[in-house]
């Protein structure tokens, strides 16, 4: 319990530290920033470019727009974050499942590993933005019975493209991690590939898979926001960032609100994913040899 409180205190201190750094630079930095020839290296510190932290926070309870009956800004941001959270979680699950299937396939057949692993690595060099219109276009044509492709599904697929990578690579390393003594023991017991997978390789892969799915969580959030922007899907944080950027001059604190939402989203997903590791503690015991 004391540990928990200390951790919490440390987290709050880190947030305050970020805010203090912001304000310190705003106070000391040159008004027009600092440029090397035409390239600006340090940002401007005007109230337009860098509103005070308290202005950003103070903007949150105020209404979204001047229209009568508008909801407060923070409610709108939370709604958008909730929408993006759902999409990010779907894409995370999709990425983890697909990544794991890749890893198991690559572990099972050396030929598949030789053929697929370079492609998996190569896949991450394709920019997400280039992929977005493709997926959106394909998705638009999918219609099976009563099932119609939804816009958010394209976003989930694009984000999962980013999320599956660490899982495929991490799980493969984990599945390949058992020592020869354990593999030979399973062989001596006449255990086939499936029993060896279930009794030995999967448990042994846990210490590799947990960090991988945490990375996948972060990738799913980034992927979701970027894909929302590039497919133009309304309702999420990504689109909100794009929309609010227009208010940079008239309402300078407003564009920062969805960024806070994105940070919150990342923290939430990281927290949810770390819950997965809790019941798996026994698989993380360090092995001690005789």
């Amino acid at each position: 319990m004391r540990r928990r409180l200390a951790d919490l205190g440390l987290g709050v201190a880190a947030l305050l530290g970020v805010a203090a750094t912001w304000e310190l630079y705003k106070l000391l930095g040159p008004e027009q920033g600092w440029s090397v020839r035409e390239v600006r290296v340090l940002p401007r510190t005007t109230d337009l470019a860098m509103p005070h932290v308290w202005e950003m926070l103070g903007r949150l309870p105020e209404p979204l727009t001047g229209a009568p009956g508008a909801v407060p800004l923070w409610v709108a941001v939370l709604q958008a974050s909730g929408f993006s959270l759902a999409v990010a979680l779907v894409s995370w699950v999709l990425g983890v499942v697909v990544g794991f299937c890749f890893a198991v396939g690559m572990q099972r057949f050396a030929l598949v590993e030789a053929a697929v692993l370079p492609l998996v690595v190569l896949s991450q060099t394709v920019p997400l933005i280039a992929l977005a219109p493709l997926v959106k276009g394909w998705g638009g044509r999918v219609e099976i019975g009563g099932f119609a492709w939804q816009g958010w599904m394209s976003v989930a697929v694009i984000a999962s493209y980013l999320a599956f990578f660490p899982v495929a690579v991490g799980a493969l390393r984990g599945l390949q991690s058992p020592d020869s003594i354990h593999r030979e023991l399973m062989r001596a017991y006449g255990a086939g590939w499936w029993s060896t997978l279930v009794r030995l390789r999967l448990p042994a892969s846990v210490p590799y898979v947990l960090p991988a799915i945490r990375l996948a969580g972060a990738n799913a959030v980034v992927g979701t926001i970027v894909a929302e922007v590039s497919t133009g899907l309304p309702g999420g944080v990504g689109r909100m960032i794009l929309e609010f950027a227009n208010f940079a001059s008239s309402d300078p604190a407003k564009p920062w609100a969805p960024l806070l939402g994105a940070v919150l989203l990342g923290l939430l997903v990281a927290g949810l994913v770390s819950l997965v590791g809790l019941p798996l503690g026994r698989y993380r015991r360090a092995e001690v040899t005789a």
Partner: protein, 281 residues
């Protein structure tokens, strides 16, 4: 007598392991290394046979061939009248290595239950058998511990309990006490002798230690290196099972056997040459 009945009741005199003219060559043409060269060996049911020799004499290779963890280049091996592969798939043997090789995420009890679970023994039966085995190796109170909470000697005892979990008629052990300190080692040797007397299993035991081989075995197979061959087979004849206890280590007949094995080892590596890899303690 047919092979099937030999596997079932294996009376004294039946053959547990038969190795005929077996060679194992590693590597392709050019860099080929002959690990075993035309080896013949027969282990009777219930017999304790140690393989001893310098490093590179192929004693571990021979054990791995019997266990079907490796295949011979030529020659044939049978385990209770079957091929090693059939014997492996039928769980005819139990095996233990120098490292205990316990799965770190399983409790001690679950580790002992592993071969039983893989062979489809029900939960109740597994639990009962594991309890009995842990009793046998003196770890009844440690069933719910994890391997990393145990000392090396205790881990090795769990590994032995696991090896005998299915009451195999054959135990294959590759330097199981090699990584332990001398005191733990001697205590486990006495325990192993007692366990073998109870289970009446044949044992093929690979070791570097002459005293260990002599204390445990009915016969000691002395091997020589490059290429791996059987140099000499020394009959020990110090009595079976429970007749072997701590006191035996100070008996004259024990020392005589140690001397005979030592001389056989020296004879194999040429006059004046030291025996690499063998501990002449």
């Amino acid at each position: 007598m047919s092979a099937a009945t030999a596997a079932q009741d294996h009376p004294r005199g039946a053959v547990a392991v038969s190795v005929e003219d077996v060679s194992r060559v590693f590597g392709g043409s050019g860099g080929a290394v002959t690990a075993l060269d035309q080896v013949d060996l027969t282990v009777a049911a219930g017999e304790f046979v140690s393989l001893i020799g310098p490093s590179g004499c192929g004693k571990s290779t021979l054990l791995r061939l019997v266990a079907d963890l490796d295949r011979p280049t030529s020659g044939s091996i049978s385990v209770f009248g079957r091929t090693p592969e059939q014997a492996r798939l039928a769980h005819d043997y139990g095996i233990a290595f120098q490292q205990a090789g316990l799965l770190p995420w399983r409790t001690v009890r679950a580790n002992v239950e592993l071969p039983l679970a893989l062979h489809g023994v029900g939960k109740g039966g597994r639990r009962e058998r594991a309890g009995h085995l842990l009793d046998l190796v003196g770890l009844a109170d440690f069933g719910d511990h994890f391997p990393d909470q145990l000392s090396g000697g205790m881990q090795q005892r769990v590994a032995i309990a696991r090896a005998i979990a299915e009451e195999p008629s054959l135990l294959l052990m590759d330097e199981p006490f090699g990584a332990l300190d001398e005191m733990t080692r001697e205590r486990l040797q006495v325990e192993l002798v007692r366990l073998c007397a109870q289970t009446r299993a044949a044992v093929v035991f690979v070791t570097h230690s002459i005293p260990e081989a002599v204390f445990l075995s009915d016969r000691v197979v002395v091997m020589s290196a490059r290429p791996g061959r059987i140099q000499e087979v020394v009959d020990i004849g110090l009595g079976r099972g429970t007749e072997r206890e701590e006191g035996l280590r100070e008996d004259t007949s024990y020392f005589e056997s140690v001397t005979r094995v030592r001389e056989a080892l020296h004879g194999g590596s040429g006059a004046g040459a030291t025996v690499r890899g063998a501990e002449l303690r």
